[in-house]
Amino acid sequence: MRRLLVLLSAVAMFATAQGVMASAAGALKMVDIDSSEQARQRGAEIVVGTCMMCHSLKYIKFADLKEIGMKEEQITALLEDQDIDDRMLSLTPIEIRKESYGKVPPDLSLMAVARQKGPQHIYTLLTDYYYKSAEQEETDNHLFPGIKMPDVLAYADAESDDERAEIEAQAHDVASFLVWASDPSAESRRTIGKYVILYLIILTTLLYLLKRRVWSKLH
């Protein structure tokens, strides 16, 4: 019993250590991420139409979007000069992007796992823009003060709660899509995992019974 407590306390220690590191990330808006295909597809459209002006997703091909249930026609509608088997790279020349922002904007393929609470980070960042002054000239971001990225979803311009809710929904969809993009195998991983764990529980139960049977000869 005592041993169990010690083990549990060890696990708790590491969990809190992780938690403490996570809380250092700042004031994130804790939204639950929608993992439905519809949300991901809407997110994909926003990412291709807006984010990919400057960002790339170099580990993903357009054809991979079939995995989130998009039809070939839907995907080809997103293409400009690219082929469906091309990687999702920004078409804006790299020099121009570098000139505009001082460095090449980061690749988004892994963005959802590259920050503590990545999906919430993405959502918060997109909906944390505000105008610095009443003249409404320059925007800044609460989560990332001094950010170079413009307010692409125009959150700071939103005038009503309805408008804000709409942009929040878009940010949510972008986060949903980027979660999928960061680890496309996650779903099949969890599906296989259920069978693996079920199998192991049965096997372990049988091994326990076998152990009892073998050891019963001793007593």
């Binding site: 590191m21 680890d183 991983r189 091994l207």
Partner: protein, 432 residues
Amino acid sequence: MIKKVFAWVDERFPLDEMIKHELTEYPVPRNLNYMWSFGFLAMFILIVQLVSGIFLAMHYKADVGMAFDSIQHIMREVNYGWLIRYLHSTGASAFFALIFIHIGRTLYYGSYRRPRELLWWTGLLLLLLLMATAFMGYLLPWGQMSFWGAQVITALFGVTPFIGESVVIWLRGDFVVGDATLTRFFALHYLFPFIICVAVAIHLVALHWVKSSNPSGITLHAKDNIPFHPYFTVKDLFGLGVFLIIFFGFVFFAPEFWIMPENNVPADPMVTPPHIVPEWYFLPFYAILRSIPDPLGGVVAMAMSILIFLAMPWLDRSNVPGGAKFRPGYRIMVYVWFVDLMVLGYVGAQAPEGIFVLLGRIATFVYFGLFLLLPFISKREERRSRVQGLPREAERLIREEQEELLRSEHYLRRENDEKELKNIRKRLEDES
């Protein structure tokens, strides 16, 4: 047919002899608890790491321009590449978790004491090899934390008197961690597991010579030993099942728990992460390193924090049989040490500011203080138990065991197992 094949082999190779000696007739104390399964589990996870590592190496590119991308290639384009990679990354953490429990068990039950000193030392050598392997392996994904971790740790060797700078360049193969470092770490990360295998073989030879210790810490009579097979094969397999449920739980449902977000950003020598944190299994030692204000002192303290375990057989001067179970003073020390290690781990994860600096120093002081106190406490404790007899808990254990023996006598009488009955009666006489 099979019999003929075995007979043919046995004439030329001591196969049958080995199976008997190491398995079917290898005596193991029957009172081992599940804490004694962790050595076997560690060996299992070593094999998992070897196999998954070889398959990763088939697809990995050790080149600063390609390393990060090749990991994503494994994750996304190689068939079940994600499984191989998550097995390996989760396996590294699992390996340390198992080894730490294995070492904790050795300390708690006093398994390092005579005649198991060499077993203990080979085990510590294995820990050092494991740490070196893990450290080099962590550079290979070429993420931010990989790069900056390697940068910081290799820089530590710069404190070597007189030749510090040259040593660092010699280790990195360059002035900074770069392509030369990555390729050599890859080569060594592939080599070290083979050295580990040899060290494991030596560890096992030493084990099979002195045999397993047991929770009572007293060498049991031959009649209280049972053959490894089938009793401990089946017991360890059950333990393995439980372990695998936890392990695969992480692999399939939370593999990213063991991967720091910063390491999903490609290495960038121009951007230093806000704070550089090593993997969890290095945190306590990292905290000790940072708690000493002098750089050389810090590195020496960090090295000593592990090497001091080599001295355990001498530091512990008690002759009271058994591990912490029969030794209240030592038991408290082990628990304090355990809590202290947790505190150090926690401090290691924090930025070295404010209260954490003080907390780290206190914990480091306690860590080494315990080792220095051990010779005196163990001697005092021995004197006390000579006067007062064994602690009450030990007596209770013996009484319980006697009751257990009486029960089994009753059972055997029913079963008419004459030989076993005689053994037990004799043992009851011995003990009363």
